[in-house]
């Protein structure tokens, strides 16, 4: 395990091939999305659940709205994309 971590860190600083470059920049993207951007959102959701005063109904409305809006946004993009694809092939 230690070797794996050491070689991984070493690879970050010795970019000798395209594959290595890909793996390191791939890591940058994941860190940006799931840590730097994601963490404030995780904390927000956690705070809505455990923060005082507790009110399960409002928390559920809040979380359900996040999920609903996300799904609606995807569906909207899909429908608009689909209609345009059909209308203007």
């Amino acid at each position: 395990m230690t070797e794996l971590v050491t070689s991984f860190i070493a690879n970050l600083f010795t970019l000798n091939s395209v594959a290595e470059w890909y793996s390191s920049t791939g890591l940058i993207g994941l860190v940006i999305i799931f840590l730097i951007i994601g963490v404030p959102i995780y904390i927000l959701i956690l705070a809505s659940i455990v923060g005082q005063p507790r009110n399960l109904k409002v928390t559920m409305i809040f979380i359900a709205m996040q999920i609903l809006l996300f799904i609606l946004a995807i569906i909207f993009v899909w429908i608009v994309g689909g209609i345009v694809s059909m209308a203007v092939p």
């Binding site: 890909y22 404030p40 705070a47 005063p53 507790r54 109904k57 709205m65 996040q66 899909w78 345009v84």
Partner: protein, 432 residues
Amino acid sequence: MKGEGIESKPEEQLLRPIIYTTKAFYVAIAVLIGTTMWSGYAWWTQLTQGLVVTGMRDLGVSFGSPWGVYIANFIWYVGIAHGGIAVSAGIRITKLEKYRPIARMAELLTVITLLMAGLSIVFDLGRPDRIFFMIIYYWDRIGQSPLIWDLTVIFAYSILSVTYLYLTMREDIATYLEKLPRRWRWFYKPFLLGYSPGEKEKVDQIAWWIAITLIVLMALLSGGVIPWLFGLMVSQAGWYGAVQGPYFLTAALVSAISGIIIIASIIRRLFRWEKQIKPEIFKGLGTILAVLTVIYLWFILHEQLTIRYAGPTTELAISDALLMGSFSPIYWTMLIVGLILPFIYLAIQAIYPKVFSLKGTVISAILILVALWVKRFLLVVISLLYPRLPYPVGSYTPTWVEWSLVLGTLAIASLLYIVFIKIYPIIELKRS
């Protein structure tokens, strides 16, 4: 104007736009729908004939710029959106009660301008279905593509902004539902899903956390992901550099505060809300705008000084085009009329409050907002017209299709804003 007699309770004054409809409202709606339909025709032209109907062309051998007014428009709207929520979140977090009347205006501005930013990108893609490919191939591209990071943050930001706006409106909807005629109530009831009067404290707690999250995301999106679309491009003179993050963030705040000043003044005049939106609010916003504008000017100085001192040839070519070349008339007008003069005016006003003028503040805000659009246009286009490879300098002239679509985003944004004001109170009832 109908409803002018309702002067007894401040709450009823705030409900006046919802209860009474004037002729001006119908005229405004008709004009905006007409403009939207015209831009719909322009979009159809672009969809059926392709991006060749725009002035955009490939750089290099096609002597053009592959990005144009759509991308400038996108950055401009995103800036307003981020700054808008920063203002609103700042008011909530720091409990700046004096500015409370403009909090919802700023939140709504954020939601609508984010939508218009997304629409500008859809126009630029040529085919809206390409957005869907970004979702399908999300995992393949997440590693390298700032565009995917951009898409992610815009999605997150939009969802949180809409939730933020909705949660803080529930109490108001419950309050004014009883005051509305019975025939309208069916429309509002679904928005009160699960509402109970005791939820206020919990809503405030979640709203506070959303405000904090949005401010963090704003720094990441307006000061991070979007400037990274430019600042990370090592091969692109005029874009590459570490300053783009704070530069964009400052521009976002400047444009948002300008936008809020303009909208608040229009609403104040239209509904005669002199008591609700007091001149002190504009004074304060004008002072903040002056400070942020001078910081932005400082960044412009940094940008040009770094290039002029001993910059690479390609960077110098861009700087020459701006300062003394073909783009210099636009650049200097933008800089002097759009930023420096309004800054001087606002600064004088901040130092000597006696000379404060609401009209002057609004005119300054309009000039700054237009200047920031022009600045974004210059940033996007000039760099692409001067490629680093040995190609000749290109040219770009937006066509009627592009201008129509840009105008269309303004019309749709105005239409959405007016419709919202017609349906929901734009100033928080309970707290005002």
